[in-house]
Amino acid sequence: MQLALDANMTNVQVPAERSSSELDDIDALVRTYRPRLLRFVTFSIGDADLAESITQDCFLKAYNGRASFRGDCSVNTWLTSIALNLIRDQQRLQKFRFWRQARATAIDVNDAANFLPSHESSAEARILAREQTQQVQAALVNLSANQRAIFLMRFADDMDLSEIAQTISMPINTVKTHLHRALKAVRAQVGTR
């Protein structure tokens, strides 16, 4: 796990002043990136409680390894790459049950739709949003791990294709292929294709 993390860190180059200012303040780092990172990990593995643990571990590793963060990418990209390595390690070690088996701590986004800003959406729109979210969530279950991670990076975290390719260490054309397959499956699930 450490080797994979270090290898990923050495591939990333970040301006020194940004790493020193942003990564040294662990509280601000967690405050800024935790919700996005938690979402990525949670919907990647399908277990909310385990996602909490992995997210915490991710910040710990990022903070401890900030000296090796040289990079030419955003902090969000770097954190996502660390989280991705942790998820892969968990998958290799089979320490958790995958999407199809996860039930006890499965993600329940039903209530989350109620926390959408009320000034932006009516009650009907929130109900629609909840239904659409459940459909996308159901579609994610049937994707491969790579397709799911790439889909989340592109459509949840708004990362561009080059960032995704760098994060997941894949050629950009492979990323496009995974995205096309994932998007086709999701759109078929929600009925827009």
């Binding site: 938690l38 659409q132 459909q135 969530q137 592109r154």
Partner: protein, 199 residues
């Protein structure tokens, strides 16, 4: 691209992915039906994005913040372990040697020494019992300092008694020649200077 050749599903996917070619992109900019199709395709994903972020923000806000352990240098941890191991080793060696020294000394020669060594326990017990007899409220700081001074004085007397016993039991090579000098008076000379109270 004219109005009869609207975007295909794959091209809509390309647009959502961010990889739409220039020709279809220019068509999309002017074609309302295609824009509606793209909007319809985007809507569920946008909903998922908004709702899942609301969910994770809520969960992050409701869970207590877990402290992130600060980085600790590896050498620091290793030094701490080495110091602990060294201390344990020293104690493990020193305690048996001390017991062995006491046991290996002849009984006749060590009788006064044993008596002197047993004295601190009596003293400590008497001090402890005296302290227990006093009410807690009367134990002032000055009293504790004076009891410490008394204890130090008793310790000094005990060490001097030990020194005298050792001087009497150990023969100096100079004794065979009847020489008595100030420097050869005791092998432990100067070792048992009264203990200072560093408090």
């Amino acid at each position: 691209m004219n109005s009869s050749s609207h975007l295909s599903e794959d091209q809509i996917d390309d647009y959502l992915i961010g990889d739409l070619a220039t020709g279809p992109a220019s068509h999309l900019a002017t074609c309302d039906p295609c824009q509606l199709r793209v909007t319809a395709a985007q809507a569920p994903i946008a909903s998922f994005k908004a709702v899942s972020l609301a969910w994770s923000e809520r969960r992050s806000a409701t869970l207590p913040p877990q402290p992130v352990r600060a980085a600790s240098p590896a050498w620091h941890r290793h030094a701490a372990w080495a110091a602990t191991a060294s201390a344990a080793l020293l104690v493990g060696i020193a305690v048996p040697m001390t017991k062995h020294d006491v046991r290996s000394t002849p009984v006749a020669a060590t009788a006064p020494l044993a008596k002197s060594l047993a004295q601190p326990d009596v003293m400590t017990a008497s001090v402890q019992s005296a302290a227990q007899r006093q009410p807690i409220g009367s134990r002032t700081v000055a009293a504790s300092y004076s009891s410490q001074d008394e204890q130090i004085e008793r310790d000094n007397r005990m060490l001097q008694a030990i020194d005298r016993e050792l001087d009497a039991s150990v023969q100096s090579p100079a004794d065979a020649f009847g020489l008595v000098t100030a420097g050869s008076r005791s092998p432990t000379h100067g070792r048992n200077a009264p203990v200072q109270n560093w408090d």
